[in-house]
C-alpha cells in the first residue's frame, strides 16, 4: 500500500487500525490526529456548516474506531475507507436535515492548498489532488457537476435530472461519460489507482 507523506514518519494506517482493533487507545489517538483534518474538511466542504461538519467528522471517526476490526485492506486504502464513511454520513445528514448542500461547483473548486491544514498535510493534499484536479478539469462542466452531485450528495440520476432540469437520459449520459472519462484520464496519468 502506498504510504503518504503523513504516514512516512509514523506507523502505517493498517498497523494503527490493527492496534485499534486490539484496544490500543494510543493507536486510535494517532489515527484520529492523522485523519481528523481530512474527515472534517470533507464534511465541511459538503455541508458548509462547521458545527454539522464536526458532528459528522466525530461520528465518522467513532465508526472507524469501532469498525477497525472489520477493515479489509483488499477492498481499498484506509484513507478511502475512512473518507467514504464520512461521505456516507454526510449524505445521510443532508437528507435527514433537508439541509442545503454546498454548490457542487464550490466543492469541486476548493483550493489545493487551504485554509487551516498544516503545511505538511496541505502538501500531501496538494500532491494527491493535483493530478485529480487536472483529471476533473478534463471533464465538461456538466459532467463534473453530475459526478459531484452523484458521488458527494448521493443523488440518483433521476434526482440529478430534476435538479439540473435535464432529461433523465441526459443525466445518465453525463454520469456515465464523466466517470468513464475520469477513469481514462487517470489511467493515462499513470495513477497508482
Amino acid at each position: 500500500m502506498k504510504r503518504t507523506r503523513e504516514q512516512a514518519s509514523g506507523p502505517s494506517d493498517e498497523s494503527l487500525l490493527a492496534g485499534m482493533a486490539h484496544g490500543d487507545e494510543r493507536a486510535g489517538l494517532v489515527f484520529v490526529r492523522r485523519y481528523q483534518a481530512r474527515v472534517f474538511g470533507l464534511a465541511f466542504g459538503m455541508v458548509g456548516d462547521a458545527s454539522l461538519a464536526e458532528d459528522i467528522a466525530q461520528e465518522a471517526l467513532v465508526r472507524a474506531w469501532r469498525h477497525a476490526p472489520v477493515y479489509d485492506p483488499r477492498r481499498g486504502a484506509v484513507s478511502t475507507w475512512v473518507l467514504t464513511i464520512a461521505r456516507n454520513l454526510t449524505i445521510d445528514a443532508l437528507r435527514m436535515r433537508r439541509a442545503v448542500p454546498t454548490d457542487p461547483d464550490d466543492l469541486i473548486n476548493l483550493g489545493l492548498v487551504s485554509n487551516g491544514a498544516s503545511p505538511e498535510a496541505a502538501a500531501v493534499s496538494a500532491d494527491a489532488a493535483r493530478g485529480l484536479h487536472a483529471a476533473l478539469g478534463g471533464l465538461s462542466l456538466e459532467q463534473r457537476r453530475a459526478l459531484v452531485l452523484a458521488y458527494f450528495y448521493g443523488m440518483t440520476a433521476l434526482e440529478i435530472s430534476s435538479s439540473e432540469s435535464i432529461p433523465l437520459g441526459t443525466a445518465k449520459t453525463r454520469i456515465r461519460a464523466g466517470l468513464n472519462k475520469l477513469r481514462e484520464i487517470m489511467a493515462s496519468q499513470g495513477s497508482p489507482r
Binding site: 461521505r87 487551516g116 454520469i175 456515465r176
Partner: protein, 266 residues
C-alpha cells in the same frame, strides 16, 4: 460512445451502462439488484466496475483537509467514552484518552516551568517517582507571565506538583491564568476534585479529574484575580488526598513585579 470494457454477452451490454451508477453508489431498485447479480458472475464487468469505483473514490482526494475546531479531540473522546459497552472498559479507555490530553497540558506546563526555572527546577516536575521528601516551591517568569510551582504533599511526603501560571491579565487579552498539577498518590482510582484557597480566604472549587491508580495530571484556566493561590487541595471521597501551601510572596502579586528566577525550599 464506447464506454466500458465490459464483456460481449447480451447481459454485459445490458448492464454495462449501469456500472457507473453502481460504482457511484446511486443505482436503485430492481436495476441495481439485477446489475449487481450480473457483475457478481461476470469477471470482466467486475473488473471494470472496480476500476470505475477507484476513479469515483479518487474524488475524495480532491477535497482539502481543514483542521477541526478547537476541542475536537476532547469532544470525540467523550463520545467514544459514552459509546463503549462495558463500564470498566469505557472508563479505562476514556481515562487513557484524557491522559493524552492532560499529559499534553502537563508537558506544556512543564516546558513553561523549564523555561522559567531552568532545567534543575523543572526536572522535579517531569520526573515520576522521584519526588523530593520535602515540599519545594519555585517561581520564575515566562513569556509575559509568571509560573509558581509547589509540591503537593500527602502524609509528609511529596506526591506531586502544582503550578500556577499567572499574567495578571484577562482571558480576553489573550493571556489567561492557569493551574496545572500532577500527582501520584496511592493506588486509588476514581474522581478527585481540586479546591484552591486564595490569600483573601476565598475558596474556589476548580473542577474534577480522574486518578488512575493514584496517578493523575490536570490543568484548568483560572479567572482573573484567582491566581492569588494560597493553597490547593486535592480531594477524594474520603477527604484530602494531597495539599500544597504557597508562600505568600509567590502567587500573591498578579502583576509582574520584575524578573524572578530560581528555586527555593520551605
Amino acid at each position: 460512445m464506447t464506454d466500458y470494457a465490459t464483456g460481449s454477452s447480451p447481459e454485459c451490454a445490458r448492464y454495462g451502462s449501469e456500472l457507473a451508477e453502481l460504482a457511484l453508489g446511486i443505482a436503485t431498485g430492481r436495476e441495481r439488484a439485477e446489475a449487481l447479480a450480473h457483475v457478481e458472475q461476470c469477471p470482466i464487468c467486475q473488473a471494470e466496475m472496480e476500476r470505475l469505483s477507484l476513479a469515483a473514490d479518487s474524488m475524495l482526494e480532491v477535497i482539502p483537509g481543514i483542521e477541526p475546531p478547537l476541542g475536537f479531540e476532547v469532544r470525540l473522546a467523550e463520545r467514544l467514552g459514552t459509546g463503549r459497552g462495558a463500564r470498566r472498559h469505557r472508563r479505562a479507555g476514556l481515562s487513557e484518552w484524557r491522559w493524552g490530553q492532560r499529559r499534553l497540558s502537563l508537558v506544556l506546563a512543564s516546558l513553561l516551568a523549564l523555561v522559567a526555572l531552568g532545567a534543575g527546577a523543572g526536572a522535579g516536575w517531569l520526573m515520576r517517582g522521584r519526588s523530593p521528601a520535602v515540599a519545594r516551591s519555585s517561581f520564575g517568569t515566562v513569556a509575559g507571565g509568571r509560573v509558581v510551582t509547589q509540591s503537593l504533599m500527602s502524609k509528609g511526603r511529596a506526591v506531586g506538583s502544582v503550578a500556577v501560571y499567572s499574567t495578571g491579565r484577562t482571558q480576553a487579552s489573550g493571556q489567561a491564568n492557569w493551574l496545572f498539577m500532577s500527582l501520584d498518590v496511592g493506588s486509588w482510582t476514581g474522581q478527585a476534585s481540586c479546591e484552591i484557597t486564595l490569600f483573601d480566604g476565598h475558596k474556589i472549587l476548580l473542577g474534577t479529574f480522574w486518578l488512575d491508580h493514584g496517578y493523575g495530571a490536570w490543568g484548568v484556566g483560572l479567572a482573573p484575580g484567582a491566581a492569588n493561590v494560597a493553597s490547593a487541595l486535592v480531594l477524594g471521597p474520603k477527604g484530602v488526598l494531597a495539599s500544597a501551601e504557597f508562600p505568600s510572596s509567590t502567587t500573591r502579586a498578579t502583576t509582574i513585579p520584575g524578573y524572578y528566577s530560581g528555586a527555593g525550599g520551605n
